[in-house]
Symmetry: C2
Subunit: 457 residues, 2 copies
């Protein structure tokens, strides 16, 4: 049976099927640092929609699980592929098929890298707003599959706000065209939105019609504000939002994060305990908005440095962008992703401090403070998450839910957070979501075991 | 059986159940001018979530169809209730439960009128952006159920962009909480988005957490540009979008519409054949943007009047807002709602002119030119749409689809457009959408016969 699946794939797709030890091993993990048990059967490097359809037809005929994959930069294990599974990569499907600046849309294949797309779009004076920190290495298809966010979300929206239409291949190999090319469209149920963030459990995104924005004219202004502790920085960021000023970016780094990033980049160390907010404004009122935000930050106890220089702004933001590699220097990390209403950001940092004390763990945390999305990093030794780290994470997840928040702002559930899914959704909704998946994938061959795993006891 | 349903409703809900002739008759129609056959069994005026749950439990136990209803301002017959059906009105559930300007969210009941909500929010310096032309009489719940748009969509988005979470009652009476209060959230499948625009076939919206915006500071600038014909006006609007300037509002009225609105409002008549674009800009760059747009409109052959005065701007827009009543002075109307990519607006007007010629009908048309959404009005005598009008509408729908457009930009499918749904979705997606509905409503008691009717031959 196993041989026959690989034989059939190879007969149909030839060299697009990789069964090498190294090729298969590379598909076991994503950037979360966690790997699937065992080895995939094969890797299919799809070059066309027809390749994806062929793979899914063989998979459905043989009942073989398929794990769709882009660049493998996910942080929840959603693309990890293990024993008996086919890894279906669409990384090679990376063309821009159409750019229409007059209609503010682009049609792309899923494998194009976010930053590459935006570099190409710039020539037409347009951009696609979702900007996950991984934008230089992550695919647009992966951004869609996870419902990615990023740094600019509070002002410019998330992936859900930036997709008009999707072409998807279902588990049985059928190709569907979802959505529309027009700004408005309410024909039937919004399956386009249902696919955004569906993490490969409903179908495989093989094409996307993206909603673009005009590039923002004018100078970007950047502020870096240092606070004596993280709670003060969090309260200051909430004060900016409450004051009604909308920065394009507002990032918060706690003391441990800031110190690690400074070490990694070879910068002078910061005062002990100091936390930092990095804020950018853009658009026609950028300078005035930066001034107004600086006033709020100073009134909240911050020491503020301001710059209207693009290179200096990029240097300040580079510290924030170095966060993920900086964490890797501290040990293995479980990068969490809770999100709370913006007014509860300081309260969430209080909860993180409590979890640190109660569980005896260190949880360096960075936050997209403009939108209330926090990335607490649980640091440990060795490849597997130890039980005491999971216990601390459990405590932290439930605290976020109590504050009106959510388990995951932008990384997704994948395999790492599936046991908490029912705690947030409730049992009724959890069951209903599984039934919706079954409509699209009645054999449960698309990314089985991801997202919908049995609830935690 | 029929008596027993009404008896059970009355036993459980008392005076909230209206079985009067006039009360039931009022639920047969919405603002489309089209009515269901026969009379509803009863009208339930729900005052609480519990009332909605009670109604749905009785309905599911007895297999009785239920048609959810807000203010009944829909234009596709989605809330029309007929023989053997219960009309379930949530119009009385109209409280604002929470406003959080610091988190840019509000929690509301579904029956609140859009304009009333925005009047209340203004005190906190915030607003909810969706602004259908019916905003003074339509409910927020109805806006959500239809995925409403409006005049401001190209700049400020549609309902899909402005809802964080929904509380819904399922067909069997269970209450579910979908979505999240945070800006970001990707926990599980996005059922919130699936419910937006679902026209009452999946469940009943009993609460909504809305995403708000800050009120825009600064003066609104208004332009009215007259063109010799509608094609020139459409081409000019596309030129504005292509020039990269984003008006808040850009409305187009063709000659017949403009003349009818002028007559209704007692204004001096316009030159024969003249079409008009009404454009507004807002925000910090409003004056400069209005100047730039005026240049584009003049270069496109328009005669432009500009005003930075709020009252004068409202007067110009009042002509556009008088459109629906003005059409009613011409006869019975079938108000259509196709949407095309903005660059195809002039081509769509060419198609409308062709359909007028080929079918010998008059189709006054207004368009949200900023987003490509057109409302062709088919005028006829008597209460029922005659076959030749449907034939012309069929021709027009298919033309919109050929131009990369959609059947409905913001009104929904309801009962009037259901026979064309499969033409846009394709048979596979049409079947799949019906299966998704069946997950939520296995007995098919929620708004049966709406949206998913058999395809046209």
């Amino acid at each position: 049976m196993t041989d026959s699946v690989v034989d059939r794939l190879r007969a149909a797709l030839g060299e697009r099927v990789d069964t090498s030890e190294s090729g298969r091993a590379a598909m076991r993990a994503d950037k979360s640092g966690h790997a699937a048990d065992g080895m995939p059967l094969a890797v299919v490097h799809a070059a066309s929609i027809a390749d994806v359809q062929t793979t899914m037809r063989i998979a459905s005929q043989t009942g073989t699980p398929v794990v769709p994959r882009g660049a493998g930069t996910g942080l929840a294990g959603g693309a990890n592929t293990g024993t008996g599974e086919i890894s279906l990569s669409v990384l090679g499907m990376d063309r821009i098929l159409e750019v229409r600046p007059d209609d503010l849309l682009a049609v792309v294949e899923p494998g194009i890298i976010n930053a590459d797309l935006n570099e190409a779009l710039a020539a037409d004076g347009v951009w696609w707003a979702p900007d996950p920190a991984s934008r230089d290495i992550a695919t647009v298809g992966g951004n869609i599959a996870t419902g990615a966010g990023g740094l600019l979300c509070a002002k410019y929206g998330v992936v859900r706000d930036a997709v008009l239409a999707l072409d998807v291949v279902l588990a049985d190999g059928r190709l569907l065209h979802l959505g529309h090319r027009s700004v408005k469209g309410v024909t039937g149920l919004d399956l386009t939105s249902l696919f955004i963030g569906s993490e490969g459990v409903l179908g495989i995104v093989v094409g996307a019609t993206l909603k673009l924005r005009r590039l923002v004219p004018g100078q970007v202004h950047t502020l870096a504000a240092t606070f004596p502790d993280v709670r003060a920085a969090a309260a200051a960021s909430a004060a900016v939002t409450a004051a009604g000023i909308q920065p394009s970016i507002m990032e918060l780094m706690d003391a441990t994060c800031l110190a690690a990033a400074h070490r990694l980049l070879g910068l002078a160390p910061m005062p002990a305990g100091a936390a930092q907010l990095t804020v950018q404004t853009d658009g026609p009122a950028a300078a005035a908005e930066a001034d107004a935000i600086a006033d709020v930050l100073r009134a909240a106890g911050g020491s503020v440095a301001a710059s209207g220089d693009r290179a200096e702004g990029e240097r300040l933001l580079a510290i924030r962008r170095a966060m993920h590699p900086a964490m890797l220097t501290l040990g293995t990390t479980l990068i969490e992703d809770v999100s709370v209403p913006r007014s509860r950001l300081a309260a969430m940092f209080d909860e993180i401090a409590r979890v640190e004390r109660d569980h005896g763990v260190v949880i360096p945390t960075v936050a997209h403070a403009g939108d209330g999305n926090l990335h607490p990093n649980f640091i440990f030794d060795g490849p597997d998450v130890p039980p005491q780290i999971w216990a601390a994470a459990d405590d932290l997840f439930r605290a976020a839910l109590r504050l009106g928040g959510t388990l995951t702002g932008e990384h997704g559930i994948g395999v790492l957070k599936s046991r908490w899914l029912a705690a947030e959704l409730g049992d009724d909704q959890w069951q209903l979501q599984r039934q919706v998946k079954a409509v699209f994938d009645p054999q449960n061959i698309l990314n089985p075991g991801k997202v919908f795993a049995p609830p935690a006891a």
